[in-house]
Amino acid sequence: MPEDVRELIRKAPLSFVGTVTRLGDARVADVPVDERTAVVQVDAVLHAPDAFKKLAGSEVTVQLSAELDPPAVGDAAAFFTDGTVYGQGLAVHEVGRLPADAVQPHLSRAARTADAMPFSALERDIEDEDMVTHADEADAVVIGVVVGLEQAGRRQAGGEQAGVEGVSEHTPNWWLAQLDVGHVEQGDVTEGPITVLYPNSRDFRWFQAPKPHASQEGMWFLHATEGALAEWAPFQILHPDDYQPVQKLETLQARR
C-alpha cells in the first residue's frame, strides 16, 4: 500500500517525478557514493521551496532509501526527498517514493488550473491543518480591528521597563496594539477593546512577527503574557501565523 501523499509532503520538502539515469554514481562532489546512490533526471517538480521550483530538466543526485526497493536505470517514479548538499548540483536523500502513475492526476490537475505546482492544493490543505493546530495552542482567537498603536515603555540600558532584556540589536521594541474585538472564537475574552503586545523590531529575530497596522482587520491568535510582560498587556502575538486574514475564520470553523 503506497504511503499517503499528504504524509510524504509533510516529511519531504522536495518532490519530483524523475527518471533514473545512473546507479552508483553522483553529480555532486563531496557525496559518498554506493550502490544506492542514483542520478535522477527531474521531469517535473511536484512541490518545492521557492529556490527549487525550476529544478525540472536538472540532474539530481539521490541517496535512495534503504527501506525501499531500488529502482532500475530507466525507471520513472515520484521521489520525495530532503536536501543534503548544495553545490555544483543538488544532492538529496530519499524519504519516500510513489509510482509515477500515482501522481499523474496531480500533474494533470495542475495543468488545468492556476496552481503553481502539482501539489499546491495539498500544500494549502496542510497549511490549513497547521493553522487549526496553531489556533488550538492559542489562549484566545478573536476577530478584531486595530484601533490604536503605541510604544510600550521606554528603552533603557540594562533592560526595558517591563522587559527582561537589555539593549541589543535584538531587543524586541515592544509595542501595544489595541484591538476592537467583534467576535470571540476561542478563549476567555469579551467583545470590545483589548490590548495586545507585539515586537515592532525589524531585527532578524523579530521581523516575521506580525506588525499590526492602523485599521487592519484580522483573525488574531493571542497568547497570554507572563512575568514582566504581563504588566503591559494580557496577550502577545509573536508567531508569524498569529495573524490570519479574516476570511480564514470560515476555514477554522469548518475544520473543527
Binding site: 529544478l55 521606554r154 528603552r155 540600558a157 535584538h170 521581523f207
Partner: protein, 466 residues
Amino acid sequence: MPTLKIVNITPVALSGNRTQDAEPDLAVNPEHPNEVVATAFTPDPMGGSLAPIYVSTDGGDTWILRSIVPGGTPTLGTGDISVSFASEGGALYAGILNAKASLQDILRMQILRSPGISSTAPMEVLVSRDRPDQPAVVAGSFETDGVTRDRVYVANNDLGRAPRTAAVDVSDGARTAAPPAGFVRNRVEQRTPDGQDGPPVRIALHPEGTVYATFESWQNATDGGGDIVNVTFDVVVTRDDSGGVGANPFQDLKDADDSAIGQRVATGRVEKFNAFMGQERLGGDLAIAVDPTDAARVRVAWCDRVGASAGVGCILHVRHSTDFGQTWSDDVRTVTNAKNPALAVNTDGLLGLAYQQFGQEQWATVLELTADDWQTPPERHVLHQAPANVPTARFLPFLGDYIRLLTVGRDFYGVFSGNNTPDHANFPEGVTYQRHADFVSHQLLDLDNVTRVPPSIDPFFYHRTA
C-alpha cells in the same frame, strides 16, 4: 605580484535563492588554507532545522552548503554566528544565537564544535546560556606539557550579568573535552558602565598566547525614541599575557590614568544605536588585530558619530599601540560614513582594514592594506559597490552588523555581504559567480538558466595573496 579574487559563494544549486544572506563570518584552516568555511543569515534551503555553513575545499573557488548548525528554524536559519578553526588539528568552532529559542523570546548563545571541515554531523553543543549577545569566536592551538590543546575564545555581551556585560568565554581544552569542554566565563569589563556595555566584544590572539579583548563601555545610554538609544561610550582594551587561562584573566593591562583594569583608547564617543544609514542600522562597530610578529603591536577600529547625538553619519577610526595597548596613537585613519570595520595583520606586518561605506546611495566594500599606518597611500581595493536601495531590506541588519578579515601567513582572506546584481560595474576588481547570472543583462537566473531571479543579498569571499 599580489592577486585578488572575489567569489560570490552562493552555489549553482541555489541559483533560485532569494534570501537576505547578511552578516557573514569566515574561518580559514591555518594548516590547510584551501579549507574555508563561511556563514551568514542563510536558512536551510529546504527549510530544515539545521542551519547551513558554506564550505570550500579549494581555496574559495567553489562552494557547497552543508546544514550542520543546530538551532535553525525553517525560515530563519541560525541567529548571529561566528566561526573559527583551531590553528592545529582542523577542529571548527562556532558561537551562535539559537534562532529556535529566539522564537520563544529567548536570547540563547551556544558554543559549538565540529571535528573538521569534512564532518556532516550536526555540530556538538558545548555551552548553552541565555542572554549573551553577539558571540565572536577566535580559536588557536597551544602546546602545554607536550600536548597540543585548542584554546577557544568566545567574546560576547552577556546581558545576564548587567551592568558589566562585556565577557569572554574561554576554554583551554576545547578539542576533545566533553561539554562544556572547559569553557569558563570571564568578565572583561571591570568598571561600572551605565546599565551595560555595547554588543560587540572582539578578540585578537597572538600566536604566542598574548590575547587582547576590546569592548565599548557604555557610559551613558538614554532613550532616543523608537528603536534608537543615544549612547556615550569609551573604547576599552584589556589584555592577558597568559592566554586568558590563568588566574585573574584579562587583567594585565591597567589604564594609565585611573589605574583601573582596561586601557581606554578613546573616551566620550557618541553613537545613535539603531539609527539608519541607507537601509542599514548602525551601532556597535568594533575590531581589533595584533601583529603576529610582535605581540606589542595592536590596532583597534571603531565607529562613532561626529557632532554627538545631534550629528550625522558614522565615522570609522583606527588607532595603534606599540606597547601592548598601554598608549595609543591619535587616529591613523578615519573613514566617513563607514561601518563594519575588520582588521587583520599578516606575517609581513602588513595591516588590512576592510569596511563598508555608504555614499551616493551606494554601499561600497573596501579593503585597504598599509605597511605604515597610512603615512603613505595604502593599497586600496573597492571589492564591491552597488545601489544601496536594492533589494528592499526584509529585516535588519541589511548587510550585517559585522564582516570579517583574516590572515594566514602573508595572505588576507575576507567575507562581506552585498547586493548580488551581476554587473561588472559593481565589481571593479572582478568577480566570479557560482550561481547562474547573466552579466550582460545584469540578471540572476534560476536553475533553468532562463527564469529571472530578483536581486538579493549574497555573501562574497575574497582572497588577496602576497
